[in-house]
Symmetry: D2
Amino acid sequence: MRALSIVLPAMLMLGFAAAGPQDRPRLREFGLSTGTLPPGPLNAITDVAGVLVGQTTLIEGTSIRTGVTAVLPHGGNVFQDKVPAAISVANGFGKLAGSTQVEELGAIETPIVLTNTLAVPTAADAVIDYILGLPGNERVESVNPVVGETNDGVLNDIRGRAVKKDHVLAAIRTAKGGPAAADTALDPPSKGSCMIVVATDAPLDSRNLKRLAKRALLGIARTGGYFSNGSGDYAIAFSTAKDVRVPHQLASPTQTITVLRNEAVSPLFLAAAEAAEEAILNSLFKAHRVEGKNGHVAEALPLDKLRELLKK
Amino acid sequence: MRALSIVLPAMLMLGFAAAGPQDRPRLREFGLSTGTLPPGPLNAITDVAGVLVGQTTLIEGTSIRTGVTAVLPHGGNVFQDKVPAAISVANGFGKLAGSTQVEELGAIETPIVLTNTLAVPTAADAVIDYILGLPGNERVESVNPVVGETNDGVLNDIRGRAVKKDHVLAAIRTAKGGPAAADTALDPPSKGSCMIVVATDAPLDSRNLKRLAKRALLGIARTGGYFSNGSGDYAIAFSTAKDVRVPHQLASPTQTITVLRNEAVSPLFLAAAEAAEEAILNSLFKAHRVEGKNGHVAEALPLDKLRELLKK
Amino acid sequence: MRALSIVLPAMLMLGFAAAGPQDRPRLREFGLSTGTLPPGPLNAITDVAGVLVGQTTLIEGTSIRTGVTAVLPHGGNVFQDKVPAAISVANGFGKLAGSTQVEELGAIETPIVLTNTLAVPTAADAVIDYILGLPGNERVESVNPVVGETNDGVLNDIRGRAVKKDHVLAAIRTAKGGPAAADTALDPPSKGSCMIVVATDAPLDSRNLKRLAKRALLGIARTGGYFSNGSGDYAIAFSTAKDVRVPHQLASPTQTITVLRNEAVSPLFLAAAEAAEEAILNSLFKAHRVEGKNGHVAEALPLDKLRELLKK
Amino acid sequence: MRALSIVLPAMLMLGFAAAGPQDRPRLREFGLSTGTLPPGPLNAITDVAGVLVGQTTLIEGTSIRTGVTAVLPHGGNVFQDKVPAAISVANGFGKLAGSTQVEELGAIETPIVLTNTLAVPTAADAVIDYILGLPGNERVESVNPVVGETNDGVLNDIRGRAVKKDHVLAAIRTAKGGPAAADTALDPPSKGSCMIVVATDAPLDSRNLKRLAKRALLGIARTGGYFSNGSGDYAIAFSTAKDVRVPHQLASPTQTITVLRNEAVSPLFLAAAEAAEEAILNSLFKAHRVEGKNGHVAEALPLDKLRELLKK
């Protein structure tokens, strides 16, 4: 069970609302905690070895408040070396690109990109550019970009379509592991949607990854959300375990893999729910005040008031 | 919006673990509450006008601890006068009968029966008996019984198959509305499974009933559950609105219905999550100590200790 | 690829309408053929090594015309030694028992039983009896019977509920491999429903078994069917490959399996469509004239007229 | 039933491989026919009143052989005046954009665009441009483009990404009804994928539209296809019936609609299967010889040989 105990804390999610400047604390830095399982050393998705995260933040003038996040399952050629994956849809009122192929084939072959609702095609186009341009992909003629979104139109001039392909490519190409990965971006509050990304080094096949993704969505319920009509809520889970990778080409028609059995997945299910909950809370804690389009303001969580409330 | 404000409090669920004797309080009687929306007058599924609930409890010797619950959408011939319905599966590790037809046709045509895992076929058989025997159903040759289950094998000699067709028919035939409906049965704690029944008088079609059922399952997450591998977790939702009823036979190939629009369903979604949460908590509060098979004991929630904890 | 070439001809289905007396020919015995891939030596599901088939036929008086078919994935304890499986639903207007657990866990743990619509609970109950009674299952408290159905109410007094548990147990217990397996039963014509069972010794996981089952349903389209509203059409596929078996208990939390890759499954998809088509045609050819309830008659396919038509 | 008898022949699909020059016959012009129901006057999707089709064909140099097809449910503002719709996935190995929202909300709010695999993001981006730019949509901040694809990489330099937003907008803006609508485009043979579009003026809700789309996919089986692993096969169905339209905004939380009952949909199911089959055959008949990338050639169906074969 050692493999599992290593895996659990290493699982984390990127909530839609990434963190703000470094001067605000995360939940645990504030002195609170949630969940029963211990987090990983960074308490970030990059705790899963090999996972890389990149972000491009666009803050311009009074009304551009948007960005791009890219999650790479590993540092190699993910098209040639696909990873098993699955998507769970809590509320499909969203524009997620790539879902049917992930459902059918049980794998992803590109980075996962998150951006604003109207930038999904731009991001998908950039992902195709990225994949076609990778050494070794010279003959690739079919790519399934996976792009999730939230609607940042409250603060951002979303109709202005500020996100360009270069912003997306920059997020992918600057992706890195380690501590700073997820804490520098701006994703202003959405109207409610949430796209959760779950990485694990446990050797799960796509069926159990789908079950895992479904539990990550419970993190939303644990923080009070209920998948309201307009909130497109999705989770995608992938495994980085080398053994379950899905090579694009293989001489043999069969592949031998070692997978976790149904009976062993419950601790991971709990970890997914807890990690998603904490990632959402961390987003709330880290997010600072943002003023955007039409003078709309997203206030930061008032930590002083919270401290007072907790004393009572 | 008046229709909605009437509907919301009238929505409630039957948790897996129905209540024990009358001497234990519900959550609100104990002085606590949860959720933001007001409950209905009975805070029971029978707040939805027309819904009937019946139960048969089997306590015999040292090891029979099981039962049957029947929920009737209305007091008429539900086969001839079907109601729109939908099922959401959080964890399909269960033996729910009838799911594919509900998914395909968007309606139920029988009472919903809940019992123990190994009694599902017996209950389904009894439901067929019941439907075939109703006046007006003399020519019926196809029936889709909807039967959910939880596994009470911890306290109950489940392999003994104590539930017989007569027990099921009794639950159906004694079903009634009003206050006493859900508070007299014994459903010993299951190993984790949960079958939630949601009734609403809001005019929802099957697509939005499916969305509603999915939100009811969040009640499990709100009380700490996470759909562990072995816990089969399902919700079924139906509407009692007369206007959306699905008559078995109709001269016209078309039917005119008035349905709630997507934009109006969010308050119901929240109500479903909150009502499910409260139903689960009520089950925990009402459940009394049960000793069963092999001396296994399910302790009651220690209300005194809880009161002390809350004082701190 | 040798494994595949062995597998393909060994795949076959049991259509709803099993064959009549031995004096009528199958399609190929009549001189016709369909499909492009060669059938197995028996052209029967028992070509897949280890698969056993049993049937109980009930013909009594003027109006009992029904039966039970049981398909056992292997001759051992299928609960302890489950096989990967998946169900595809073409039209869910049916009473298939066991579907959600197969979808969730990707395996079956009982024989697959086919019977008439109103006998599904009886058959499921018998399957539970059978599993609980097998040596080694003394502690089993949860069983997921898989039972499919068609409605034989045109010829059969289906409301009379002639099928009893003993009939089902007899079908299971007399199941055997070899040539006679599928050619002795009576399944009078249904009102349209179809339950296809696909067995393969190819090492498919549940995801690709689901894809395989979906292709088997194309056999219905190839013979002119179109999943009309009232026709519940399902396919279930399982793999008998030893390597992908799902042991009920295993010391290790992981399991190593060798599975066919996506890129290698297309020949099996074609085989499933062709084998299902031929199984349906064989059913039509073998079915003899049956007179049943209320003097209703299902005429046999008029082979003489067919021969004349073909000459033109 | 008159409504139905009008509807049936008016239903048609756009197969992946649209027709070539006018000098080649369709199936019926060649003297053959298939199916049992009569086609509409044009035997085209534009037989459904109000449906508009536009196409942009790109033939440049020796290696650009691609194009765009746009299907508009009606000539108005489809975002403000959405139509009920549903998608059925036969094989999800494809890049269909927009599927989860259609599944969740049961409606489409944009034209349906078909193009090559790597042009899906470009087309989706153009659809967003189109919707944002329509009078009345000045405040729209969320759009769900529906874009299907097939892979034309055999003849087309698909990596060259020849399709630009203007090509897509041209297809949308020049869309028209009437006879010429679908017979002028070039869609070179794909590697196997197929995207079927079904329009009907029957008042179907999204649940029955999903069932209808599933039957359209049987057209592929009727012409010999079997959803091979690499062939992404989808169908999308929508209803143009005014009564079931889904207005983007409505004062009332409810909407009254008249829908076809389950019992009345079977003739439409058959029509969908037959129309899809004939549309595929028409594509084969109309397609002329195309020489493309690397000298690859897609030969036309040799009508002379076919005529000889048929004489025998």
